[in-house]
């Protein structure tokens, strides 16, 4: 039984992993700092661990999809991330791909349930 649970958890994790980048990119139209992003995603029902999110932000920045800058005005220095122009382009394309994929999969599942 425990094994089955592990397997299921692993599969869910894998399913979610593929959608994380799209989720994150969707929130980055305006500048946000890391923990605010965790909270805004959580509010919308998308859970992400900070120890997954922070490395991911760093990677997306390296790939040129996000840019960051440090704000030192507040009570403590914060690093804000936002989408770049290139990031906008990629995000648009990813969104299209996602919609296609989702409707395709939806059709598959419906057909099977009928």
């Amino acid at each position: 039984m425990g094994e089955e649970k592990d397997l299921l958890a692993g599969l869910v994790l894998e399913l979610r992993r593929g959608t994380l980048i799209l989720s994150v990119l969707s929130q980055m139209g305006e500048a946000k700092y890391g923990y605010a992003l965790v909270q805004s995603l959580e509010e919308k029902g998308v859970e992400i661990d900070p120890n997954t999110l922070y490395p991911l932000l760093r990677r997306l920045e390296k790939q040129g999809l996000l840019e960051s800058r440090w704000e030192t005005g507040g009570s403590k220095p914060r690093k804000y991330y936002r989408r770049t122009g290139y990031g906008d382009e990629i995000y648009r394309e990813l969104k299209n791909q996602w919609r296609q994929m989702a409707s395709g999969i939806e059709a598959l599942l419906e057909e099977e349930e009928r």
């Binding site: 890391g34 923990y35 900070p50 120890n51 760093r58 403590k76 690093k79």
Partner: protein
């Protein structure tokens, strides 16, 4: 934040950051400090709660690493496993067998225990046999570990080379792509990077390479662990009578050169196995390795005291100086043997390099 909390946080940050590349450490530490501060501000969270939620710092740091941090990637993994099994088998089994035979030979009837042990000879013999067996097992284990290390090292190099090759391809593609109208660069795989299928006769037989690699490994193992088995052995008498063919007294000096020469041969075969097609790399590797091997062979056979200098004498004494063999033995001398062996090696080296060059010119690509 109390001093204790700060101390805990510093420790956590250090544990994450020390695992990252130097140039990322400072910024990552700042960023995580910000994160931990934010998480602390949530109602009722203590530093312990926050750090527990962030989890094992080692795993956290791992997620910052590139995926390419892989000692042996999926592409080579299956081959690697197979190889490890084969090499472990052909290093550990012979070593164990040699140790075992040694134990049996020495513990043969009347193996020469006298004095204080004579009354307890059965027990002491049993102890001796057990000890020898244990020695054989230990030798086999150390041979196995050495073989495992060598194979792993070879595959790590292969993996590393492949990564390098892939990057080169990527760069080449981008350069070619600059001329296209879209202006976008694709960094992925395209049919353009496919190399043409080689002529069937330009392909290097994997089987041949593997057989040669296995042979080299077994020979190396025997030379390291059982040089005295290269000998004429008469099974009768007390524990048998052994006349070594090689100069075991100078073996410490000879063995490293011998092993180096085997290692060079091994390297050449691994290159062939990895490249798989006759071409420039294989030609260079083959000519270079063969040349070095030849030099080492000359050093070994002509400049070092390679053979047991008393071989013929000991054998004659044992045989009693009559018969055909004894007659033939009077002609034995190390120098002639060296010259003969060297002639065979020169022939083999020329044949090997010649074949490689011929096949490359005829069927392969010399780009």
């Amino acid at each position: 934040m109390t001093d204790r909390d700060r101390e805990l946080m510093e420790r956590y940050l250090y544990q994450v950051v020390r695992r990252l590349p130097k140039d990322q450490r400072e910024e990552t530490a700042l960023e995580l400090q910000e994160l931990i501060g934010d998480m602390l501000e949530e109602d009722g969270s203590t530093m312990e709660d926050v750090l527990t939620k962030l989890g094992d710092p080692a795993k956290f740091a791992e997620r910052y690493q590139d995926i390419s941090h892989c000692l042996i990637g999926p592409e080579y993994y299956d081959t690697y496993l197979w190889f490890v099994k084969v090499v472990l088998l052909c290093s550990m089994l012979p070593v164990f067998a040699v140790g075992f035979l040694d134990a049996v030979r020495k513990a043969g009837p009347g193996a020469g225990y006298t004095g204080a042990y004579a009354t307890n000879s059965v027990i002491s013999e049993a102890v001796f046999v057990l000890g020898s067996l244990l020695g054989a097992v230990v030798d086999a284990l150390s041979a196995g570990i050495a073989a495992f290390g060598a194979v792993t090292l070879i595959f790590v190099i292969l993996e590393w080379q492949k990564v390098k090759l892939d990057r080169k391809r990527e760069r080449q593609w981008k350069v070619d792509d600059l001329g296209t109208a879209s202006g976008k660069s694709f960094s992925g795989w395209t049919p353009g990077v496919l190399s043409p299928v080689p002529h069937p006769k330009a392909r290097i037989s994997r089987g041949d390479c593997i057989v040669e690699i296995i042979f080299t490994v077994v020979l190396g193992v025997l030379l390291i662990f059982a040089p005295h088995f290269f000998a004429v052995i008469f099974p009768e008498g007390e524990g048998g009578f052994v006349i070594p063919l090689l100069n075991l007294e100078q073996w410490d000096m000879i063995l490293p050169v011998f092993i180096l020469s085997l290692a060079i041969g091994l390297m050449d075969n691994v290159v062939r196995l990895a490249v798989g097609v006759y071409g420039k790399i294989v030609v260079i590797s083959s000519v270079l390795c063969n040349a070095v091997s030849l030099v080492l062979a000359v050093v070994l056979l002509k400049m070092m005291p390679f053979w047991n200098p008393d071989f013929a004498l000991e054998l004659q004494l044992y045989l009693g100086g009559d018969g055909e063999i004894a007659d033939w033995l009077t002609h034995w001398n190390g120098d002639t043997a060296s010259s003969l062996l060297l002639a065979v090696i020169v022939f083999a080296v020329i044949l090997d390099s010649g074949t490689v060059i011929y096949k490359t010119l005829r069927y392969g690509r010399l780009r």
